[in-house]
């Protein structure tokens, strides 16, 4: 599983970081980016799905696997 944050949509609510600090970095303005290339270790997939489902700006999405 891979995730990404759309920088044009993120408004710094910080819900993703609160739910899954292992997967997101957050700057002084609240803006979120994925750690590394957004790859999610299997053990953190549930947390990643929670982050996606709680973003009020719909800014986080799962990146479809390459065919």
């Amino acid at each position: 599983m891979r995730i990404r944050v759309d920088p044009d949509k993120c408004q710094g609510h910080g819900r993703c970081y609160g739910l899954a600090p292992e997967l997101f970095d957050i700057d002084d303005y609240g803006l979120s980016t994925v750690v590394g290339d957004g790859s999610v270790p299997a053990a953190l997939e549930e947390k990643a799905r929670l982050a996606v489902a709680n973003c009020p700006e719909f800014a986080i999405e799962e990146v479809p696997a390459s065919p």
């Binding site: 910080g14 609160g18 957050i26 700057d27 002084d28 303005y29 609240g30 929670l50 700006e57």
Partner: protein
């Protein structure tokens, strides 16, 4: 523009957010409106629209071109605002649109970042414990006035670098501005009190700058010149106004819920790991804050003919109860896993202090439950609520025998 106190004839076409029945139970009114007339209208206090669906509220929050933040007060200032000459830009960034919004917001955000907020947690926790120590032995307390109301104002005073001894005075001014906004004299008194105070504090810091937010704003240069004093005053006043009874209301509503719902209280005491999700759910169910917008040009929205100058009440609390988005929307589900609530707004005006508010709410509940795990309402009739811009309990008598 009328400030009629006549009973509401129709919630769809004559709503009044200051009506006692709306303040007491807005939830059933929103439910009715969402199915019958999802964007309600009134001519009370000027032509004003009230969206109640999540999709509509968030769409309007993102459309800053048609819905401006130049007027954000739920009860509009009538005629000449007393602060007009002193605050030509109001309280930026909340009362501004880009581009002023963009840079004034960037000045405030680092003070409320995750990292910075973590450094305020220890003093918040000590403050909560001290308050609880003051009434724990009595077996009863007013959880709103003796606890919730006392917390955010002192944390904000710490951040602004002003005296916590003035907490009661600050609280009085903020209530005059927000809670008693329907009384023009009282509101003017609050605005003037706040401004005079910050004018004096700015003068002090020009002589002796510190490491506080106010000093930092005074050091800020914009295009090579110091930031205008009216902007410094507006931003400082905003931090105090926006950071006080909003969070206090969230703490109060959450304690009210736990006092009135023993199962949820017991569950949270038994499983403190639930706290983070519970905080979000309590914010969703009892979102305190409604903001306003002003329509910039005539526009049709969901079939409603909106005119330039009309006002919109950004009903984030109702959006958060929309059954289209939230399963069992009117039920508090402490471990709700899917919760895209917009208690802190949506779009570019997302509450700049949301990290701080969350920390304060979590710590206030953790400390209360750690020391007073069993408590209940001391007679339902004695709870009083304030509404309008910010909804929350103002008297919340609880007993813990």
């Amino acid at each position: 523009m009328g400030t009629s106190t006549a009973p509401v004839s129709s919630w769809a076409s004559d709503f009044d957010v200051m009506a006692p029945e709306y303040v007491a139970d807005p939830f059933s009114i929103w439910d009715e409106l969402r199915s019958a007339c999802p964007v309600a209208h009134t001519d009370r206090r000027g032509s004003t629209w009230l969206p109640t669906r999540y999709a509509d509220v968030t769409a309007m929050a993102h459309d800053v071109e048609h819905f401006s933040s130049l007027e954000v007060a739920v009860i509009p200032f009538e005629g000449e605002a007393p602060d007009e000459p002193l605050l030509p830009y109001g309280l930026p960034p909340i009362s501004s649109d880009p581009p002023l919004h963009t840079w004034t917001r960037r000045l405030l955000l680092p003070w409320f970042s995750h990292r910075r907020v973590a450094t305020y947690e220890a003093m918040t926790r000590a403050l909560c414990r001290g308050l609880i120590d003051g009434f724990a032995a009595q077996g009863r307390a007013d959880a709103a006035a003796d606890y919730a109301q006392q917390i955010p104002v002192r944390v904000i005073a710490h951040i602004l670098g002003v005296s916590p001894d003035l907490a009661d005075t600050f609280t009085g001014w903020v209530r005059d501005v927000l809670e008693f906004a329907d009384d023009p004299e009282r509101r003017a008194r609050g605005v003037q009190g706040l401004l005079n105070y910050f004018i004096a504090e700015v003068a002090l810091r020009r002589d002796e700058p510190g490491e506080d937010l106010l000093s930092e704003l005074l050091r800020t240069e914009v295009d090579g010149a110091p930031m205008e004093e009216s902007l410094v005053l507006g931003s400082a006043a905003l931090v105090l106004i926006a950071g006080v009874d909003t969070t206090w209301s969230a703490i109060g509503s959450s304690l009210w819920h736990l006092a009135a719902h023993p199962d949820d209280r017991a569950r949270l005491v038994a499983d403190p790991a639930l706290m983070d999700l519970a905080v979000e759910e309590l914010l969703r169910a009892y979102s305190p804050v409604t903001m306003a917008r002003v329509v910039t040009t005539d526009v049709e929205f969901e079939g409603c003919p909106m005119k330039a100058g009309d006002r919109i009440l950004m009903n984030f609390p109702a959006a958060n109860r929309d059954p289209e988005v939230f399963d069992r929307a009117d039920t508090v589900v402490l471990d709700r896993a899917h919760n895209r609530h917009v208690a802190f707004g949506s779009g570019i005006h997302r509450c700049a202090g949301s990290n701080l508010a969350r920390m304060e709410l979590r710590v206030a509940l953790e400390e209360w439950l750690a020391h007073i795990p069993e408590f209940h309402l001391d007679g339902d009739d004695e709870v009083t609520w304030a509404g309008g811009q910010v909804r929350g309990p103002r008297r919340l008598p609880v007993v813990f025998p």
